[in-house]
């Protein structure tokens, strides 16, 4: 990989190139050497390609952060370790089921929020999957004969069923189902954003609201299309199709760069049970100050490595790092230092912890001559 990387301008360009090649090849396969490209949906196709490149670049940039890299590195190490296979599988399965499919932790933040997020998330992922599958022609439907309906994947007929079966109905209406889910979720989310004042503390219009309204425009125009051809015999269909295509294109271009980018980050959560905390809330490492359990060895090693890479020097006189103490002890150390008293652990830091908080006090940084102090004392 290292050698290959050198032939490219950057990591991001290497991965983008690979992704492009894969997309190109898949398109070539699924469209019968480009003979069956659907030109009417070329807007979708170009936007989807840009979506994949944007995603690749953003993910590469994210993966280059020392903290992310460290965590991913340890995950790969653990995945390769034979002894940990049971724990790894368990971590992946529970994260997938609890955090990604069911999103339990969001339901704990509130039922309303849980329902809202679940509908948006799965509505969105479903719609995206169908859109990609259809625009790149990876999947299509075909009537083989009047009583058989087939799902064509990459040009091969796979599932066959009766055109009036439930599954067939569901596949005709798949996009309508996912967009209805999205619509309900979006209305809930927008209502919450309008009503709840607490959210306005850190709300940013372009970050928190724009994606909601963008998805709303996309969903509504898509549903109007369905209404138009099903019930209004195609009234305003071409115009609506164009509007819908524009909203989808904008959405796809926006996706990798805004709030929605949290979607590809979430799977990293597997690293927590896999690398650090096998059972939620159960710690295994003792604080060297008070002997209470507060963390686990691997995580502290990783945190110290990440801090070291970024030149944070939190080492104490006794050679321990601040992160070897539990948070409560660290708070105490800070206070004792500032009260100029020995800390309960007998050791103090030589210098204040450098947090570089940007306030510089003229006078304190310079050396004063001895008489200054004599004068101050003398006044009393």
């Amino acid at each position: 990989m290292k050698g290959l990387e050198r032939s490219f301008y950057s990591k991001a360009s290497m991965y983008s190139f690979i992704v492009l090649m894969v997309l190109f090849f898949l398109l070539w396969m699924s469209t019968g050497q480009f003979t069956k490209v659907k030109w009417a949906s070329s807007g979708y196709m170009i936007a989807s390609i840009i979506f994949f490149i944007g995603m690749t670049i953003r993910l590469t940039a994210w993966g280059l952060r020392p903290a992310t890299q460290q965590m991913i590195k340890r995950s790969f190490q653990n995945m390769k370790t034979k002894k940990r296979q049971k724990r790894n599988t368990k971590a992946i399965v529970t994260t997938l089921v609890d955090n990604i499919i069911l999103q339990k932790y969001i339901f704990k933040r509130g039922i309303y929020r849980g329902v809202q997020h679940w509908l948006i998330a799965w509505g969105c992922i479903g719609s995206l999957a169908i859109t990609f599958a259809l625009t790149f022609n990876w999947m299509s439907f075909k009537m083989v004969d009047p009583s058989t309906f087939a799902v064509v994947v990459f040009g091969f007929e796979t599932l066959k069923m009766h055109p009036e079966s439930i599954f067939a109905e569901m596949s005709y209406n798949a996009l309508n189902i996912t967009s209805s889910m999205l619509l309900v979720g979006l209305v809930m989310a927008i209502t919450r954003r309008l009503k709840n004042n607490d959210l306005k503390v850190t709300e940013r219009a372009e970050f928190d609201l724009l994606p909601l309204y963008l998805m709303l425009a996309m969903t509504v125009s898509g549903l109007v299309l369905t209404v138009s051809y099903k019930f209004l015999s195609g009234w305003m269909h071409p115009q609506m199709a164009l509007i819908h295509q524009i909203t989808v294109v904008v959405f796809l271009l926006y996706f990798p760069f805004g709030k929605l980018f949290h979607l590809p980050i979430r799977p990293l959560a597997t690293a927590v049970p896999m690398n650090y905390q096998e059972e939620v809330g159960v710690d295994t490492k003792n604080c060297i100050g008070c002997d209470e359990l507060y963390s686990n060895d691997d995580q502290i090693t990783d945190v110290q490595a990440i801090l070291g890479q970024q030149n944070f020097d939190f080492e104490m006189q006794d050679g321990h790092k601040l992160s070897d103490y539990c948070p409560a002890c660290r708070r105490k150390i800070r206070v004792m230092n500032h009260l100029n008293m020995p800390s309960p652990f007998g050791k103090t830091m030589e210098e204040p912890v450098q947090t570089n908080n940007g306030i510089h006090i003229p006078g304190f940084g310079r050396e004063r001559n001895e008489t200054f102090y004599e004068d101050v004392k003398g006044e009393k």
């Binding site: 994210w62 952060r65 020392p66 903290a67 992310t68 965590m71 932790y105 704990k108 933040r109 004042n197 607490d198 959210l199 306005k200 503390v201 850190t202 709030k259 949290h262 980050i265 979430r266 990293l268 690293a271 650090y276 939620v280 995580q299 502290i300 990783d302 945190v303 990440i306 801090l307 944070f312 939190f314 601040l322 992160s323 103490y325 948070p327 409560a328 660290r330 708070r331 105490k332 800070r334 206070v335 230092n337 500032h338 009260l339 100029n340 030589e350 210098e351 204040p352 912890v353 947090t355 570089n356 908080n357 940007g358 306030i359 006090i361 304190f364 102090y373 101050v376 004392k377 009393k380």
Partner: protein
């Protein structure tokens, strides 16, 4: 933001008003994000308040694998973005002062955000606005300088003379975001 937070630990009387006030702050979801703790319970009843330093180069944000901790243009280090935080607790272990708290149920970190909705407009944060003993103050930079100078003099009067390398031991905690 023109003002700074100014803490004088020994003024704390342990009333925990700041924690009650913190729970009331917008977006804090009725959970306090600051600490009031005993220095050494077996020695005395002296307590101290503790909140985030709002570091300029925050270790918590640098150890976060999800890039969930954002810094505002004024320099306030915000609580984790709920959609990004993967619940790994790296921030809790990376912070030199043990500040970020963690909610296992909701799988997210939350920390002192200096009541950003208030301090953004130079209104005192909840904790400073209720502290009856002025252990936590939100004051002008000049006033802070004045207080620090006086403190240093007091220390000298008490015979604590700083040497070249430990002047910092003779002035009380000050922090916060100060941008001119």
């Amino acid at each position: 933001m023109k003002k700074v937070m100014y803490l004088e630990f020994e003024r704390c009387i342990g009333c925990r008003s700041c924690q009650a006030a913190c729970r009331e702050c917008g977006g804090h979801d009725a959970k306090e994000r600051n600490y009031v703790e005993y220095i050494d319970f077996f020695e005395s009843r002296q307590t101290y308040p503790m909140m985030c330093m709002q570091c300029k180069d925050p270790a918590c944000a640098k150890v976060c694998p999800a890039n969930a901790i954002q810094i505002t243009e004024e320099g306030v280090v915000l609580s984790a973005m709920e959609e990004k935080c993967i619940g790994c607790r790296n921030c809790t272990f990376g912070c030199p002062f043990g500040i970020p708290k963690f909610d296992f149920e909701e799988n997210k970190m939350y920390k002192c955000d200096m009541c950003y909705d208030r301090t953004k407009y130079d209104i005192s944060p909840m904790c400073a606005s209720v502290c009856p003993s002025d252990a936590i103050r939100f004051i002008d930079h000049d006033e802070m300088m004045e207080l620090r100078r006086r403190r240093t003099q007091m220390n000298l009067i008490e015979g604590k003379k700083p040497s070249q390398n430990d002047k910092w031991q003779y002035v009380p905690e000050f922090f916060g975001v100060y941008s001119d």
